[in-house]
Symmetry: D2
Subunit: 239 residues, 4 copies
Amino acid sequence: MINVLIYNENLHEQHSEKVRSVYPQGIHGCLRSFLESDDICVKTVTLDSVNDITDELLDKTDVIIWWGHMGHAQVPDEVAARVQAAVLKGMGAIFLHSGHHSKPFRLLMGTSCNLSWREDGDFERVWVAKPTHPIAKGVKRYIFSEHEETYAEPFDVPEPDVTVFIGGFEGGEVFRSGLCYRRGAGKIFYFQPGHETFPIYYNPDVQTVIKNAVYWAKPDCRLEKLDAPQVKKPGKDGE
Amino acid sequence: MINVLIYNENLHEQHSEKVRSVYPQGIHGCLRSFLESDDICVKTVTLDSVNDITDELLDKTDVIIWWGHMGHAQVPDEVAARVQAAVLKGMGAIFLHSGHHSKPFRLLMGTSCNLSWREDGDFERVWVAKPTHPIAKGVKRYIFSEHEETYAEPFDVPEPDVTVFIGGFEGGEVFRSGLCYRRGAGKIFYFQPGHETFPIYYNPDVQTVIKNAVYWAKPDCRLEKLDAPQVKKPGKDGE
Amino acid sequence: MINVLIYNENLHEQHSEKVRSVYPQGIHGCLRSFLESDDICVKTVTLDSVNDITDELLDKTDVIIWWGHMGHAQVPDEVAARVQAAVLKGMGAIFLHSGHHSKPFRLLMGTSCNLSWREDGDFERVWVAKPTHPIAKGVKRYIFSEHEETYAEPFDVPEPDVTVFIGGFEGGEVFRSGLCYRRGAGKIFYFQPGHETFPIYYNPDVQTVIKNAVYWAKPDCRLEKLDAPQVKKPGKDGE
Amino acid sequence: MINVLIYNENLHEQHSEKVRSVYPQGIHGCLRSFLESDDICVKTVTLDSVNDITDELLDKTDVIIWWGHMGHAQVPDEVAARVQAAVLKGMGAIFLHSGHHSKPFRLLMGTSCNLSWREDGDFERVWVAKPTHPIAKGVKRYIFSEHEETYAEPFDVPEPDVTVFIGGFEGGEVFRSGLCYRRGAGKIFYFQPGHETFPIYYNPDVQTVIKNAVYWAKPDCRLEKLDAPQVKKPGKDGE
């Protein structure tokens, strides 16, 4: 059983009827609906309950999925630091769309995570750059979205371990849309699709990718704690 | 079931009584003995039968393990090219010790794969640099070998995806002893321990690592063929 | 003074009047015309004279630029191996457009270097993904080409050290168009623009990039030879 | 002229006569003494004056060198954030020895930067793993230090762009001692030698490496600000 924790700030859903009409159960509700299965157990947290993201909860979480945008600054620094530490100890993390600017993602990347953007409802093709990667399993040459917010390079992140997807937008921009990282004991996947006003998370291909990413990001190994141990001179026994 | 193909040139075993006394069934026999299990099915090939490494056999192989040294040059170029192509299509590959200079490893790396060396029977500690990597599972801080051939930096390989092990030798030298790469659809692991005159492959920790590497390297996905397709202008259907 | 060696197979120029009309002095002549300067000394070689690419010439070459397409197979294996070895010893190398399938590039990458393609004369924008990289100096957000052959992902190369450019084509495809690698002591840049029937190499931005790449790829350090030395046990003197 | 800013917390020098006897002008004074030249202009800051590290000063700094240990926590978060931002805009950064746990280094890496350690005054050989890298220029096979604090793997940092040095200690431990990173527009070098009670920074080879690193890390390009711009739909002019 894989324990998934979905964080969605759930602000756009409250403030905008349009968003509410697309995601009546919130983006977290939509994500939960296609992830929950015999293999995957889902919990959700929103900005209202962000302090529920305790060390105890994170220790029991295999993969966290993060959607945030207008409420990034309201996530307490301590919560962001806890998420970072949990990833370094082995928890997987999937950051969606505007989550590129969330506190935990920026902490893990060490860079500004800035990008260029415009909002014209362009269509997008998310091209598969690494078709044999487990996260791309089941996707054809590209994923098509009728309308999407345009994200554009330069994307200020460290060079990824693997570039799985590259998006191409109607207006011409390109963007590295699916990126894998290893930090500490944890695996991180950034996935660009997902503007709140478009029904992106109903797209079966997008759902396939997020589900694949959950399986990919689940821990190989968990550390009980991060530490910098003073050690003894080694002998012949591997201790 | 994981299908493993072990290539061992099996020359030292024929030419040296000392080597024969350490590995009476050949290095391939020793590797086979600890790998074969309910999960893992092993076939072996030696230099005598190297042309048995056909495309048909490779298509059925999940992971190849390669041990060679004095017979590198006798491996036909076509066989080496077949192994390279099979890796690019998804087959895993584990290169042991002097396999750093084998034709398939050099083809896959694109570099000289040169290193410095001396043969004084130094002890070695193979330190775990990435303890949470699946290949290091079950190993303590380091693996100890009473006697080993000394391999030393600089090791002329591309920067690895992950440095899992770094060896330290009695005389002082250091060497990146366990390195992971992805090339095409395949995963590659280089592992330094294993001189023919020392009983390295009887070390339980070394066996653990090689077994872990088999599980790690098995294909996520296999390509039927490598190709450079002419494609049609994309539509909206992902084809 | 930077010594640049341009290899252009010069076959399309002989066989096609259209190509000849675009590049009356050959692609190599065009490249030479904008590179030659007080700092840069250019020599050129074509397929007719490919055996002039000797070790002696390569030892005096700081950066090789490679354009080939229909004549890849006619480049002798020994010449390709010499170029590979020279790069590993420190020579810079720039592979242009269809040079992705040249023998030396494939040897250095270790992968198939396959890509998808179509030839519809689409326009292309080559977007700058890493604007602060020295190779991108002087380029705005993107380079525009009125007509280009379409190259598309997946591009089967190892993950690059830096993704400097990503191309987006009129028909929608995307492609990692500018990639940096270090192999051995040498630096390698792959740059996608440059179909033979379009006047791409007259584009001032394309010229800027190729010129920048020459400065970037020139050796930091040259090895006299590639070797795998037997060494002595170390003392305290760094020898 | 390269403008170098040396930060040394200068606490051990105040609290310990032993340290003061080794570094009577402080570690910063020692570093300054061998760096200052016709090409390099040095300023120094200590923990007492850490708030002098303003954006204005960082904008004029080409490379910062950071030595800290017991006073890491006393460096204000705002100062650490300023240093991080300056690196992302292009300033080079060299972190020495216990600087692996400094706030700016941890911010830039995104990981715990933990390592194992013991303090027995072991000798160390810092082996050159990439002899053709500009930072290793002028160093033989290794740098020898009679006494050094022992640092040991695992070192919890992201996989580096280049592993330039690997240390081997008398007691047997190994450690990745010289690591290069690119983050944003900036270049970062971590270099392990330098315990406060040993005269490491008087070692001519160590001085050579730090000097080389200054030349290597100086900016290729500076950004005026980090931003995430809203952009217009692209045309044909590269704007």
